[in-house]
Structures are given as C-alpha cells and as structure tokens.
Amino acid sequence: MIGMGEGAQTDPAVTSEGLWKRYGRRRPWALRDVTLSAPTGSITAIVGPNGAGKSTLIRTWMGFERPTSGRVLVDSIDPWHDRPAALARVGYVPQAASLYRDLTVRDHLELASLLRHRFDQAVARQHLIALGISPRQRAGELSGGQQAQLGLALALGTRAPVLLLDEPLASLDPLARRDFLRILVEAVRSEGTTALLSSHIVTDVQEACDRVIVLSSGRILLNDAVVSAQASHAVGLGPMMCRAVVGSFSGPGGEELSLMHAPPAGDDARAATLEEIVLGYLVAGQQVESVEAEWAA
C-alpha cells in the first residue's frame, strides 16, 4: 500500500447511524440501515457495483440528500441541519469532473476563493504546478486526468479535515489513476485528513486505502480495516462446504473459488486478496437479494 498511515487516530470523522434512503415511496431503497464510521486520518474505500448506493451515501454526507431515516454526521455535525458548518469541514470531488468548461484553471481557483473563505490557493496551485497544469488552460481543454486533478486540487485547497471523493477515478486511464491516488495519499497523510473514496473497481483503491467498506444494493456487506480483512479471510479452490464460506465465484482462469471468513490454513486455502474478499461478499450479497426477491414474490 502506498504510504500506509502509522498510528491513525480512531475518533470517527464521519459517521452514519441507521441510515435509510429512498428517492420515492415506490422506489427501491438506495441505502438500508447503513451504520458506519470512518476514523480520523484514515482513507476508506467504499466499494460496490453500480447502483450500490455509494454516491447516495457520499451525497448524504454532503447534505445534498436528505436521509429518509437515520442520520449522518460530519465532524459531529448533521449536514442536513447545519449544512454550512458541515460543508466547511468537507472537501468534495464529485463523480464527473464538474468544472466550468469556459473558465481557466486560474479562474477555478479564484472562484473557489470567493466561495470558500479559507480556501488556500497556494496549496491548490502547488498541486497543479507539480502536475504541469497551466493556469491559463480552459477546463474544457484539459484531459480527463487533468480535470480530475483540478477537481482534487479544489478539494485539497479547502484544507478541510474530511475529503469525500465520489468515483473520481471512473474515467481515468491507469496512469492518471495512479497519479491521482499518489497525490491524494500524500496530501491526506501530510495533513492528517480523513478521506472516503468510492469506486466500483477494487484494484483502483486497494493500494491507497487502509479501510474498506463493501456496499451492495444499499447494504453494508463488509466494513473493516484492509489489513484485518486480509488476515481474517482465505480463499479455497473449488466449492467449500463449511459454515465459514462467505461466497463462491469464478477466478481469472475460470476456476471456482470460495471466500472463507477464516484465516488461511492448510494446503487448500491461501490468503485472499482484497479483490477476492470484495468479490466474495458481493456474490453473497446477490444471493441474499435473490432469496429476498423470491420471498417478496
């Protein structure tokens, strides 16, 4: 892992307590009883397939979505009740590069200074200089990677104690992803910031994060430190018939693998990678869903 933090504090910077959310009475639940907390100074990956509720969860912390029930807190502040105070503690990188196409990079920094009193242009500028992004370039002329970096620079310039990143890597090439994550990790570690990063691709984030949350159909399937998750899960070849099996899935060569919630032991089990852990939990989640759907029918 890149720059894995030492001695991260354990006070939660963001929390979610019994959070339920749906976008209309007839619509399915986007979030179901989500309870979690992200310790201060940690980088947490929220992983799940499209439609899992990752963006909804992050947007609820931003005060963009009102919880149907339950509540979320940012630095002990409920963003729905005191959005200005909550947002003052958050730097946000939205899903798509939501930049003003006709404004230059410099204009974006000026705009951020106007909107956020304590915006530190120097921090953002330093970040952009390191990447060789010209202040005169219009946002519409930047590559996808550069747009994402500008979005990150705007979030870092807020010097907020919490960074929420909503699938910022989705449209980036592998090199741009790596650059993005490297800079994010450096910034987070140097400032002691708490970051939550959503992605539907595990390999994107496993290098950068020290905690992982697996979300599927609005439910939390796994919420653990990466090290702890890897230590407590093993993968066995072929179908396993024991109570510790979380889920079975196909490996890269088409072989059937089983994820077990047990430390690796014996010849038929090895340590699970983070990707295998996530896959196992997602398969298990799908099985639960299909059973629920049958009962509902």
Partner: protein, 329 residues
C-alpha cells in the same frame, strides 16, 4: 476595498461563465434600442413637423402641399416600421430577461457545476446572490436602453400624443420595459432552479411570460377609460353643441372661454377669404384631439412598472429557498 475587489472578481467570473448569453442578449437589446432610434430618425427625416401634423388633423387631410408629402411618408413609417419595433419592445425585454436568467441556476444544475460550487460554498444563498447581482445590473442597463429608446420612438410616432394616444404604447415604452426585463430575469432564474435543465426551463419561462403578457395587456385594456373624452371632467361640454365627444377619428377645438366646438363649427367660424385655414384655427382655438392624456399614460406606466418590479423582487426571493433545498443534479 477588499469586498469591492471580491465583488468585481465575482462579477467577472459570472459574466465569463455566461458570456454567450450576455453577449447575445446585449447585442439583441442594444439592437432593438438602436432600431427604435433609427426609426425615430427616419420619422424626423420625413420633415413632417408638429405644425404639419396639426394642420393635417385640423383640416381632415386637406393640408398644404408642403405638408401632404411629409405627413404621408411619416404615416407610412408609423404604420410600418415603427409599429414593428414597438411590438418588439413588448417581447424583447421578457426574452432578454429569461435568456439571461435561466442559465444562472438551470445550466449549473444541468452541467453539474452546481455540485462543485455548492460543495465549496457553505451558503447557497450567498452563492446565488453572487451570481444574480452582476446579471441584474446588466439587465437594468439593457432595460434602461430599451426604455429610453422606446419612449423616444413612442413620442415620435404619436407626435407627443397628438396623432394617436401614448396610452396605446404604455406597456411598450418607458419604465414598464425596464420592469419587464427584470420580471423575465426573475422568471428565468426560478424556472432554471425548478426545472434544472436549460432548454426546458427556457420553454417554461417563455410560456409563463406569454401568460404574463396576456394578463398585462388585459390589465391595460381594463385601465383604459371607456371613451377617451370621458377621463374625469377634463373636457367640459356644458356650453357645447355636443354632449359626448366621439372617441373615434375626429377633431374638436376649445375656445378661449372653454367651449367645445366640432370641426364643422370651427371651420364655419373662419373668416371668408382666409388662405391658411389651419393656421387661423390653431391660432384662435386649442386643438382637442380624441386621445387619452399623456398624464394618464405616465400614471399608468408608473403603477404598472412598480407592480411588476415588486412581483420580480418577490419571484427572485422565491428562487433562494428553492436553490437552498434543491439537489445539485
């Protein structure tokens, strides 16, 4: 000083973000104002003086040779280009206001830039205020240009109320034009904030504006006195041979002692052998045209503009809680 610098910086960025609408609507508004001025210049160039027009009216078209040609050319422009430009004065302010207003919030939501802006700005109210004031300032400037040019053209094409009533142009000229651009702007901002998409919001804004125009025209119609001569007791007909003055095309005169004369009566009083009949009549009597007084038009315009300005302000205030509660996408 610092807050002024920030305000100017905010205005610069707002104009830059909306530069297409700002440029297009500035050209459109100044273009219409320029057209009005050009038509006014064309009217002046016909050589139809106020005296000529008065003579034409007094003698029911039998004006002197020197006046006939200019008055006919003048009348052609009044019924042609001037009418079209004055018609544009009703539509243009709403169109300019809506096109300037819709993208302020609507396009930010549509293009997802609201997500970035609202995440950075703790207070969305402050964000909206920062976006709105530069565009309102621009709209006031454009509205003033339209208001002045429309008033100049209206005065020219009605010959200061002599040829036709200025009341007919009451919604097309002066302060109402300025008020309409601000109402259009407020409508655009609210439509953009509610709909969250530029084109649908423009359509919604246009439909609502059409309804508002229909209401305003109906209001103007109901504010017009039933007969142009029945405005209070401005015209005393007690010593006249007529009880009710014909509101249609006709000319009356008032004598020095306040009696009202019909045109045949006035013509009968002209001494035999007088060559300049029109000149004699206008020097001995006051011409009383069948028009609503300009004072009434000004009062109507002031009241209408004030009511529309209050409505615009309230509408703009409604946009703030909408933006405050709205999703950014």
């Amino acid at each position: 000083m610092e807050s002024l610098a920030r305000a100017l910086q905010s205005a610069r960025l707002t104009v830059k973000m909306h530069r297409f609408e700002v440029a297009a609507m500035t050209v459109a508004a100044l273009g219409v104002a320029g057209l009005a001025t050009w038509v006014k210049v064309q009217l002046d160039a016909t050589g139809a003086t106020q005296a000529c027009l008065e003579q034409w009216l007094v003698q029911a078209g039998n004006a002197s040779e020197a006046c006939v040609g200019p008055v006919r050319r003048w009348s052609d422009i009044v019924n042609g280009d001037a009418g079209k430009v004055m018609g544009a004065m009703l539509v243009a302010p709403f169109a300019v206001g809506i096109v300037l207003g819709v993208p302020l919030v609507g396009r930010e939501i549509e293009q997802r830039t609201a997500t970035t802006a609202w995440a950075l700005a703790g207070s969305r109210k402050r964000w909206l205020a920062g976006r709105v004031w530069p565009i309102v300032t621009l709209a006031v400037g454009l509205g003033a240009a339209l208001a002045v040019s429309s008033t100049v053209l209206s005065n020219a094409r009605t010959a200061q109320g002599l040829w036709s009533s200025t009341f007919g142009d009451a919604l097309f000229s002066g302060p109402p034009v300025l008020a309409h651009i601000l109402l259009g702007l407020s409508l655009g901002v609210v439509a953009g904030a509610v709909v969250g998409r530029t084109l649908p919001a423009l359509i919604v804004g246009a439909v609502v504006a059409l309804f508002v125009v229909a209401v305003l025209l109906a209001f103007q119609g109901s504010s017009q006195p039933p007969s142009p001569y029945a405005q209070g007791n401005e015209v005393d007909t007690t010593n006249s041979t007529v009880d009710v003055l014909d509101p249609n095309w006709d000319v009356y005169f008032t004598t020095a002692d306040g009696r009202v004369l019909t045109r045949p009566e006035a013509l009968a009083s002209v001494p035999a052998g007088t060559t300049d009949v029109g000149g004699w009549l206008t020097s001995h009597y006051s011409l009383l045209t069948a028009q609503i007084s300009t004072d009434l038009t000004i009062r109507f315009q002031a009241n209408e503009a004030l009511a529309v300005l209050v409505a615009s302000g309230l509408l703009l205030l409604i946009a703030f809680p909408i933006v405050e509660r709205r999703r950014p996408t």
